[in-house]
Symmetry: C2
Subunit: 365 residues, 2 copies
């Protein structure tokens, strides 16, 4: 029997509740379909800091590195707002991304038809929206050195961050974007600020060269990142795949997620390079939403983004494409049937809690 | 008689056409109201490169430095897409900002009621919207060193940009934001990425300290910049004044501008520190929109952003508050009367060209 090793890091806030619903689906797949999932679980973020003074322990890092895939909930909360910078909750997530070399972050921004009216955009602009944002995740200003605060004396300090991109980093993320575009509508839009940033100039050159050498069949467009933000708001359906750097990707994917009206519903996948021998990619799957400490522990959080992240896991880590499709379809069906958690509640729908939503999706699966 | 020195830099694309309409208003104010404007004119951007191989000449830089205020149109176009980085059209604008030390960029995002339905957001979310984004303009990743592309050999290059902020830079832009908030709804939201960037940590600390020391009467909130982008889309009216760094300000102000449905209508002011002796600030006023090369020279461009930029000039450089109010009112009245340029045309309105729009506003003024 195939063994599939999953490492679960529920984290803080609503992370554990959302992860609970995924656990049900895993159990069902093991029982009913002999899926062979073996799970282990660790701590990340504030709860890890509370337990052992670090945002993730060495032991858990080891387990994450050894697993076939990591499922990640959410980290952070007011309780840890003033812990030292090096051990803040986010540091756990950033270390996972860096040490597992998860350079490719896939953030689908799709609009569930049942929720089109929940968007702040006019429904006709988002109905049927299906964009895939590919964000570079292990480079740029997130990790470049120097990154420090220097004391200049006289009451003056200097905060420094460094944006660094090497040719190979741009090449490999561009490759992911072009490959995935081929499975979709075959269009890539690359975004940077080449009019201001040297890393943007290099980004533009390398994407252009990669396209010319290997992916000339894909339609490629370049856009300045600020104009890209505008165009996302103006006419989001013009895009198919967007590829951009770590910081712009952070901003643009959040704007795109909010546009869909389906925030709290959106999953993401962070992938490494295929292993030279096995062809396997390291991978981490996490919802786009945060830890929502204000509603944590109440059993009302929306588990859909976490479940949809597990669907991405089925697809990208285990090649279980039919199962991934079925799980995504189950989510859409449940929404169509008018079942809603509080965050997406609207008149005429039936409001349920986290567990009921999970059960409804499992029943449709 | 007061002499008021204006230096006009129409630039490229639709810049000259838009500036033409401001020239009419200046002439009228001189004639009818003895306003004492003395104008001189120079080249910036692509046209400056064509004339003398630089994005702005030393002579014109001298004139910009000597003027009471600079009116700037727009720069750039496909013609100059492959000129060397150092002399690209944008370099002229960046040099003006840096050498005139225009550290405070004021970008109002207002929704003209007559245009609320032109927004891609639902009208009720933007109707009456009035946000002021204060963007730091002479620091951050735009100007920090090193900023270069290094050849690493083996076909590999490295693109580097550096984000740098010193305490005094954050203090002075925070001061501008708090001061202006006091003239509005007394609320400031500061945006950075302190969870990832050390410059963001310092930004957050200095804004907090400045607030505590001098502006405790103003309501202050902090938001991560990615969450800020989301909130702008979700519920833009929650904001009064937003203060943020150069790069986040670039992105967020463009998103905000697009939300209003009034892009092509929005002005901006870039201000320096008050002179120790005279109290005067160096200043540059420019529309938020670009050079729109596709419609340049056709007499159809919307001159409203340029005219509204001149209204900001009347207000901030010359203290002509009544005149600024009257000019802004004239713009709103003309829109209310149903006159539109092509970019904001809608059924039932009357479409006019650049000059007619300018004349209509002048007639209302
Ligand atoms: C939590 C934070 C460090 C993270 C980021 O900035 O990358 C988050 O905003 C995200 O987009 O995943
Ligand atoms: C033209 C460009 C250099 C400029 C910037 O990035 O600042 C523009 O986008 C702006 O917002 O004024």
């Amino acid at each position: 029997m195939t063994v599939r090793n999953l490492f679960l890091l529920p984290g803080d806030g609503i992370g554990p509740e959302a992860m609970g619903e995924v656990r049900k689906i895993i159990a069902y797949m093991n029982e009913a379909k002999n899926a062979g999932f073996v799970t282990d679980e660790g701590l990340v973020g504030g709860c890890a800091y509370d337990a052992h003074g670090a945002a993730i322990s060495e032991e858990d890092m080891g387990k994450a590195l050894a697993a076939d895939a990591v499922l990640f909930g959410a980290v952070g909360g007011p309780k840890w707002d003033s812990v030292p910078y090096e051990v803040r909750p986010e540091a756990g997530l950033l270390r996972l991304r860096k040490d597992l070399q998860l350079f490719a972050n896939l953030r689908p921004a799709i609009c569930y038809p049942a929720l089109a009216s929940a968007s702040s955009l006019k429904p006709e602009l988002v109905d049927g929206l299906d964009i895939l944002i590919i964000r570079e995740l292990t480079g740029g200003v997130y990790f470049g050195e120097p990154k420090e605060i220097i004391d200049l004396g006289n009451g003056q300090k200097r905060g420094i961050d460094t944006q660094v991109y090497d040719t190979y980093e741009i090449e490999r993320i561009a490759g992911v974007a072009f490959e995935l575009a081929r499975t979709r509508n075959n269009r890539v839009c690359s975004m940077e600020k080449r009019n201001v940033m040297k890393s943007g100039v290099l980004w533009n050159q390398v994407v252009t060269a990669t396209h010319k050498e290997k992916y000339a069949d894909v339609q490629l467009e370049h856009m300045l990142a600020d104009a890209g933000g505008m165009q996302l708001v103006r006419q989001p359906k013009q895009f198919d795949v967007i590829v951009t750097d770590n910081l712009f990707g952070d901003m643009l994917s959040d704007v795109a997620a909010m546009l869909t009206g389906s925030l709290g519903m959106l999953p993401s996948a962070s992938l490494g390079a295929p292993d030279a021998k096995t062809g396997k990619r390291k991978a981490l799957y996490e919802p786009v939403h945060g830890s929502a400490p204000d509603i944590a522990g109440k059993g009302i959080a929306n588990p859909i983004a976490m479940i949809a992240s597990f669907a991405m896991c089925l697809r990208y880590s285990f090649g279980l494409v039919a199962e991934a499709d079925a799980l995504e379809k189950a989510i859409a069906n449940v929404l169509d049937s008018g079942i809603r958690t509080g965050d997406i509640m609207s008149a005429g729908s039936r409001q349920v809690g986290t567990a009921e939503m999970g059960d409804a999706i499992l029943a449709e699966f």
